[in-house]
Symmetry: C2
Subunit: 493 residues, 2 copies
């Protein structure tokens, strides 16, 4: 069996450093969280948990892996350390919200507890899965939001950053709300709905010795006819190979009429270039006049949430949107900056065990971490989100009127009453075994939809959204300030 070495090399050198210092088996707590949403969006959909759980099950070291690592780290000669790796199996505990949940900056999305060296070695793998998939799900959500109820179809595999990006990206996009994907393997692997009809090459393949525009039009008609014969009940034709108004559209209508004679109704047409508002109107009018008011118009061509919104604002009669590059790469902001930071570490003194809660001060204030074992409580009132409270795990859930205080702007406060408090992180993996069933894309998609439905339209706005209330419990805030002041060094200039 072969194991991919999904870690940054420094996770190995650190593991060995811990080992040499004799602290590698101390209990450590790491948080995975992000500091700033992508696209200036106030939240992300937490996606990637199923990948994480499968990744942990496949995380290990065979003899091939050990040999390679020994070749690149010849300084490590302790056979005991290599034996530790040979026996590696993650025995810690992972806490996470349900896959698909809306999560805000600073909130732990994973809390990972276990032996220091084990927890350290998982760092990159956890981040890669969660960062990538949460990003794409959130990008998809924004496009679906812009489409205001019209279906959005993911078709970006060819521009994805590698094969995993295409396949896992399609899954994430589905969780974020797209209706279907063009990526066949994502359909096979995850059971999500797939779709596909024809590209321009299908039309051009019928361009037999074309010598005039009339012959080009005739060739397109042949192509459409061939496609309709192959898929009479799934006839969606791409109409912009040469000229939408003068060739593609009239040809499509000709074929649709023949289909109807045979008892089939067409799906519609796809436009992949030109001005989509103008061309969709031209198509709609012609299709309606020809007696095909139910034939759909699918638009694609470098769409993103803002183009979709503008097209609909102009009343473009588009029934579904195909999105490629901008979704599958989250083009306008292609990385979620999730990080993985030590929040607590066990120490022994005179035979007693203590948990320290160190923080990283850093030269950048926004990079200062939050101390301790934490959870997130979502506060709902009449089913609607009123705020989140990041608190210490061992605190009781809040009860009664709660004063929420902005962690930086302390004068920003509000009191919430009559709320329901829901603790978001719960154990999903413990003692070498996952505690939850396999998470299907449909389950996570439903979680996302429910979580999003709790937010107000103000929070979901694409541009300049309302900032949600995410505060720290008093106990956490006090711990945080204490840890800062224990480390802050006086600067004199």
């Amino acid at each position: 069996m072969s194991f991919p070495l999904l870690f940054d090399f420094y996770e190995l050198t650190m593991a060995y450093g811990y080992f040499r210092a004799g602290i590698h088996e101390r209990t450590a707590v790491f948080d995975l969280f992000y500091r700033k949403g992508p696209f200036e969006h106030p939240y992300v959909l937490f996606v990637g948990l199923e990948g994480v759980l499968q990744g942990i099950e496949n995380f290990g070291f065979g003899e091939d892996e050990i040999r390679y690592l020994q070749s690149v780290a010849p300084q490590i000669r302790d056979e005991q350390f290599w034996d530790l790796l040979r026996r590696f199996r993650f025995h810690g505990t992972i806490y996470a919200p349900e896959e698909g949940t809306v999560m805000f900056p600073r909130e732990p999305m994973l809390r990972v507890e276990g032996k220091l060296f084990e927890v350290q070695l998982l760092e990159t793998m956890l981040l890669t899965y969660v960062n990538h998939q949460s990003l794409i799900a959130t990008a998809a959500h924004r496009m679906v939001e812009a489409a205001a109820g019209k279906p959005v179809i993911e078709m970006g595999a060819r521009r994805a950053q590698g094969v995993d990006a295409a396949i896992d990206g399609a899954r994430a996009a589905y969780i974020g709300g797209v209706s279907k994907t063009a990526t066949t393997e994502a359909g096979r692997r995850f059971g999500i709905p797939i779709t596909g009809t024809m590209a321009h090459s299908f039309v051009l393949a019928f361009h037999r010795d074309v010598r005039s525009p009339d012959q080009a039009k005739e060739a397109e008609l042949q192509a459409f006819t061939a496609y309709a014969e192959a898929f009479p009940d799934q006839c969606l034709l791409v109409v912009d190979t040469t000229d939408v108004e003068r060739s593609g559209l009239p040809n499509a209508i000709t074929v649709f009429r023949k289909l109807r004679e045979k008892g089939y109704e067409p799906i519609g047409v796809r436009i992949d270039s030109g001005d989509l508002a103008y061309l969709s109107r031209v198509c709609r009018k012609a299709l309606d006049e020809a007696g095909f008011p139910d034939a759909q118009i699918i638009a694609s061509s470098d769409l993103d949430e803002f183009v979709i919104r503008d097209l609909l604002a102009q009343g473009a009669p588009i029934d579904a949107f195909g999105v490629g590059t901008n979704l599958i790469t989250a083009r306008s902001d292609p990385a979620l900056g999730g990080v993985y930071k030590l929040a607590a570490i066990e120490w022994e003194e005179n035979g007693e065990r203590h948990l320290s809660t160190p923080i990283k001060l850093s030269e950048n204030p926004t990079k200062v971490t939050l101390p301790g074992r934490k959870n997130v409580v979502r506060l709902l009132k009449d089913g609607q989100f009123v705020g989140d409270l990041i608190m210490l795990e061992d605190e009781e859930d809040p009860k009664g009127p709660l004063r929420m205080i902005h962690p930086e702007y302390r004068w920003k406060q509000k009191v919430v009453t009559d709320y329901e408090a829901i603790r978001l992180l719960r154990p999903v993996y413990r003692d070498g075994r996952r505690l939850i069933d396999k998470i299907t894309p449909d389950t996570a998609r439903q979680t996302a939809a429910q979580s999003l439905a709790q937010l107000s339209p103000e929070h979901r706005r694409l541009h300049m959204p309302h900032e949600p209330h995410v505060d720290l419990s008093d106990a956490l805030y006090e711990r945080w300030m204490a840890e800062i002041h224990r480390r802050r060094m006086e600067k004199v200039q």
Copy 2:
């Protein structure tokens, strides 16, 4: 054996459409090319060929795949078609430049010839590999260019768009010129150099019951000491966990002195936050004064080519740059828009076979394709690039004085003489077998370096570079215009 279904579903529906029309086995020629460089860069490094060749060898359909496809395409009931897939093995020919070669917009980077349905089914896979890896190699090249001879280290796995993006991205970055990667699996799989030392968590793990800044400083010293004991000859310390000037740097110097007493010289320090120009100067001065002029300063923290260039322009004494997110996602322009377009298709008439050379007109002029079987000739004069000529494969190489004419601005012309003409595309796969040896990252890296060395600094400039001459041969230009006029329909408004 299981095969990933690395195609968009429409490639399957088109394949069936071709089959039903009886044209699926006609010879077709597709070009893979891009229209506009990423980052407004005038060229890309062509990378991904090794992935393509391995992908083709693994492209097929087992019974599991057929069953899945039958379940999603129940309309396809021809058992003959499914048998075609069961027997699928790509029997066509692929032409490509050497992996690593500089390629310009519109130039075919892959020319794929074979049976129409086979060539169509490869579309997405070819595009995904070439688009992603060429993009990352080009992004890396820009950062390496900005670093002006200082090493650049790739460390972006945690922000990569999935596991493949991390691993194949590290390979592409190495081909583009980075010196090392932090991604262990990329080192193992491709044999490229890896590196790694410590993160802030290593320091925080030693924060035992810290109650004052002095204790925090003491804890950091313990962490550094532990690391130096584990890796005495590889001691690179991250100095910004709490405070560079008051803690990290003095602690590092203390440890470096102890190392020297034991006969070891330190590698240096890493700064990962704050103002890197200021802090690097502070570090340099202190290290020099302490007698460590050879200790290096490594900088990281959201670097890209422009920050690197500006830091060096300000004289920041940084010896190496660690780049993460901005490289591994090509953040400022995260997709290369490569496309795959039909350039020729065989037809039979009265028992004779002809090759048609159709083009896609499209509603966007920039999306008009070039017809025919093409190659690219690179023109060098005294080893330096003077221009590229896209020409028909069956044309002779140019000889003697050559008038190069801009394909759009026809008045832009130049005559080149005494040049060497090098045909870039050569067959790399034929009849089910690759024709070239496995391409190592080092080979492709060398190809890239040689190809880049042919360009002038004006072409390699990061911002507003000089546009290279890439023209069409007269024969190709005439064919192109003829195919356009055969299809252009009169628009009257």
